[in-house]
């Protein structure tokens, strides 16, 4: 049971995590642009930070999974 449960849940979680990170970066960036009038500086910064968080956080989330899958002997 566990062999597929944990990877499945982690993948489902990672998808949402990616989306949230990028969308949140853009939303915060747009808000900062509105406040400062420096369009599109902060939106771009937000996209970059969001992508970076998605990448690093997602990698961290999936890393135990990847190493575990790598350890499994081939059937």
């Amino acid at each position: 049971m566990k062999s597929w449960l944990v990877p499945a849940a982690s993948l489902l979680g990672a998808g949402w995590f990616f989306a949230t990170a990028v969308i949140l970066g853009v939303v915060v960036g747009r808000w900062a642009d509105d406040r400062t009038g420096l369009e599109p500086t902060f939106t771009l910064v937000g996209i970059v930070v969001g992508l970076a968080v998605a990448l690093i956080g997602g990698y961290r989330m999936l890393q135990p999974l990847m190493s575990r899958l790598g350890d499994e002997p081939p059937e």
Partner: protein
């Protein structure tokens, strides 16, 4: 032959559904409906549903574990096997030592989310509740604006069902009509009233206006309003506008001034519904996690408990995961800040994942029941049971995986071979990599 017979029966049931059980047009609201107000605190339908889920869990556990025996049987056997199965799963992922710490929280999250999702599929949800009387509500809105003497400052949409009054209880009839009305921003209250008169006349009587002003923008024709008003007066079951003169109080009733009609020139102080009302059901119960407030509460608690476990295991060394001296390694400093951000982003992804799935499921059920009353929603109910289970598993498993990540020592992956036992002042606390057989075998 058999297949044809089954197909005919299914089609017949579907057709019957369309004829006898077609529900009124569903009304979808994102925030939970306020059922009661206790002081300043609104009690919403979703909060009621969480309480119901808690009650089911607490009473169920109490009933099943009363008179516990060493050799379990029946209900006690069932609940013990559930708990044992969950504990086994947690132990496999977190290790023996951490499982004892994590299991109460993770198991509670799982059971609570599961029960809350599943009881939301029972028939008492979204069906029984207060009726909100929109017929009077719309008139009251116009009245308040007329009192202020200003035009409306924003658009307002109203949707309501035709409801029979059965001894003080509102009943939505099958195939009931849907009443829709919109107040436009920048509209004068007197014009809004004229359009409301036409909309009511169209809904309750055979009246047809020459221009469709009730649902469009702009002022209605004077003749239309007069004809609509006459049609309402003529029908004994149609709503009646009560003019100021009838009261003899100089146009004042219930402390509210009357609102004058632009086209008719008369002033009305009240609206009376002698026949069917136009109202909407505000349910007592709605799926607990179809509201963002509830899922956000779970997400914030999950976040706090993960951070708490992190500090408990690693002390202030836990912060070393996020704040890394830039002189040592500038790139890792940046990574640490991003990791700190991702801790907070988890709150939002936790909250939105659960909310999105459950809310969408509820809307799907509602719309499908409206379109095809019988048979078809059954499949979706099955799907929703599955979604409810999956979401409970995902939420609790992710919480567990993040918790295991939080209590691991910093840089564990790189230092597997060095066996630096003396390095960690944490001592007896959670040396996670010793519990993982894979880590020991690695070298």
């Amino acid at each position: 032959m058999k297949i044809i017979l089954i197909a005919v029966v299914v089609l017949a049931v579907l057709a019957t559904g369309f004829i006898v059980a077609a529900g009124p047009e569903p009304h979808i609201v994102i925030p939970g409906e306020v059922v009661w107000k206790v002081g300043f605190m609104p009690i919403t339908s979703t909060l009621m549903a969480s309480w119901l889920a808690m009650a089911v869990l607490i009473l169920g556990t109490f009933a099943m574990t009363r008179g516990m025996k060493l050799i379990p049987s029946g209900a006690q056997n069932f609940i013990e096997s559930v708990i044992e199965f969950l504990y086994g799963q947690v132990e496999e992922i977190a290790g023996e030592k951490n499982a004892r710490r994590f299991f109460p929280v993770v198991g509670t999250f799982f059971l609570f989310i599961l029960v809350a999702n599943w009881i939301a599929l029972t028939p008492i949800f979204k069906s029984i509740g207060w009726t909100k009387d929109y017929g009077h509500e719309i008139f009251h809105e116009i009245q308040l604006k007329a009192e202020e003497g200003k035009p409306f400052d924003k658009d307002k949409h109203f949707l309501a069902w035709q409801m029979k009054d059965a001894g003080g209880v509102g009943l939505a009839q099958t195939g009931a009509g849907t009443f829709k009305f919109k107040i436009h921003s920048g509209e004068e209250p007197s014009v809004a009233l004229d359009r409301y008169i036409i909309a009511l006349a169209e809904f309750y009587t055979d009246f047809k206006p020459s221009v469709d002003a009730a649902h469009g923008e702009g002022e209605p024709e004077k003749a239309d309003v007069e004809a609509a008003f006459a049609a309402l007066q003529a029908d004994p079951k149609a709503p009646k506008f009560i003019a100021a003169d009838d009261h003899g109080h100089g146009g004042e009733a219930d402390g509210h001034l009357g609102v004058s009609s632009h086209a008719l020139g008369a002033t009305f102080t009240a609206l009376d519904f002698p026949g069917d009302k136009i109202a909407l059901v505000y349910p007592f119960f709605r799926a607990a996690f179809s509201e963002l407030n509830n899922t956000l509460a779970l997400a914030i608690f999950a976040f706090l408990v993960i951070e708490f476990w992190g500090f408990q295991s690693l002390g202030f060394g836990y912060l070393g995961k996020f704040f890394i001296n830039p002189l040592k390694n500038p790139i890792l400093t940046f990574v640490g800040i991003l990791e700190l951000l991702s801790e907070f982003i988890r709150i939002i992804s936790f909250a939105f994942r659960l909310f999105g799935n459950i809310f969408a499921g509820g809307v799907l059920l509602l719309i499908l029941t409206f379109l095809v009353p019988f048979i078809a929603p059954l499949g979706i109910y099955g799907l929703e049971m599955f979604v409810g289970l999956i979401q409970a598993i995902v939420f609790s498993l992710l919480l567990l995986v993040f918790a295991v990540g939080a209590v691991e020592h910093h840089g564990d992956e790189e230092h597997h071979d060095s066996h630096d036992d003396g390095h960690h002042p944490g001592g007896g606390h959670a040396d996670v990599h010793h519990l993982e057989p894979g880590a020991v075998q690695a070298h």
